[in-house]
Amino acid sequence: MKTLSALFLIFARIGGFTFGGGYAMLPMMQKELVEKKKWVSNDELLDYFAIGQCTPGVIAVNTATFVGYKTKGFPGAVSATLGVITPSIVIITCIAVFISNFQELEVVQHAFGGIRAAVVALILSAILKMRKKSLVDIFTVIVFIAVALLSLLTDLSPVIFVVSAAVCGIIIKIRKEKTSLKKKEDNR
């Protein structure tokens, strides 16, 4: 029960401070889930993000469901998901009821100018922390650069990148296995 309410509260905090799409959650999830609670590792977080983009639905929600399920099974998945959507529901409803033309308010626009600067810095610092674990050799560096460039310059769906990178990963590793087996045989 304690873990369930902790999951709800952590994800509500993450949902309430995520500005600009699912990726902005990354620095906060890293802080709360990897560094503080140690419920998941940086590697697992990257896996969930990748799968969250290939499966239908909102990335932030998919990732929350994953972490919740891993931590506390089905009830955990529901708590984390409800947590991540609750702030949105409350804030948007308040705006819809009380404030018209919210997005045109000058204060809001200035605040968002500042927040965007913070989001850039926070994501940059989060991915620098993850770099060592996911870019382990030349193959992963090539995949990283190729995916980053292609997704920036084309409109291709992330699903294509993730699935082809996974297939390439399997092929490369199997080839490596075969060559190392051969070397052993040759040595004999």
């Binding site: 993000f49 959507i85 949105s88 948007i92 605040a111 965007r116 810095a121 996911s134 990963g169």
Partner: protein
């Protein structure tokens, strides 16, 4: 009363379908919402562009924000209270397929997680995930520092914003304990003070 219940039912089903078919994040829901508006007459293209502006000016996942806003708008014809309930039903509709699918994927993964092929796949997949995050970072950075201008010149760069970003990045490197939320609040205040 009956009309309202029918509306809730239709809303849940339609948003469930959006959640089921929109792959790749919040903006991927956009074409589906355009279709929904045309099919039902619940909202127009202009309403949609307003919703995107509001969703981007508030915290939370884009897809959820848009669903909440639409849910309220559609059902508030019946009054504010039914509107609030509608604002809950629409986002719950969007997330339901996600929860079901992720639960199935998690079950399958935990059964095969020791398979070497699954591990090989993750070896490639992690690098791709990392690449996608890096490209998202670059697009956020472009909007933050260059605005919506297409031509890049020294005048179009928002130096104030860039400086704030550098300061915050330095803080995250030097003081590892500082919570991201604190930095976001600080940045919002700076944005208001310096009219960024």
């Amino acid at each position: 009363m009956m009309a309202l219940l029918l509306l809730y039912g239709e809303m849940f089903v339609r948003f469930f379908l959006v959640g089921l078919f929109a792959v790749g994040g919040g903006l991927a829901t956009l074409p589906f919402l355009v279709d929904m508006g045309e099919a039902t007459g619940w909202f127009t293209q202009l309403d949609i562009s307003n919703m995107v502006a509001i969703s981007e000016s508030t915290p939370g996942p884009l897809g959820i924000n848009m669903a909440t806003y639409i849910g309220f708008q559609i059902s508030s014809e019946f009054g504010t209270l039914p509107g609030i309930l509608g604002a809950v039903i629409a986002p719950v509709g969007v997330v339901t397929p996600s929860v079901i699918i992720i639960l199935i994927v998690s079950k399958i993964l935990s059964r095969f997680k020791d398979s070497k092929y699954v591990q090989y796949a993750f070896y490639g997949l992690r690098a791709a995930s990392f690449g996608l995050i890096a490209s998202a970072l670059l697009s956020v950075a472009k909007i933050a520092f260059l605005g919506s201008q297409e031509v890049i010149s020294a005048e179009s760069v928002n130096w104030l914003c860039l400086a704030l970003s550098v300061v915050i990045f330095t803080v995250t490197v030097k003081f590892k304990k500082v919570h991201p939320i604190l930095l976001i609040v600080f940045a919002a205040i700076m944005g208001i003070i310096f009219k960024m």
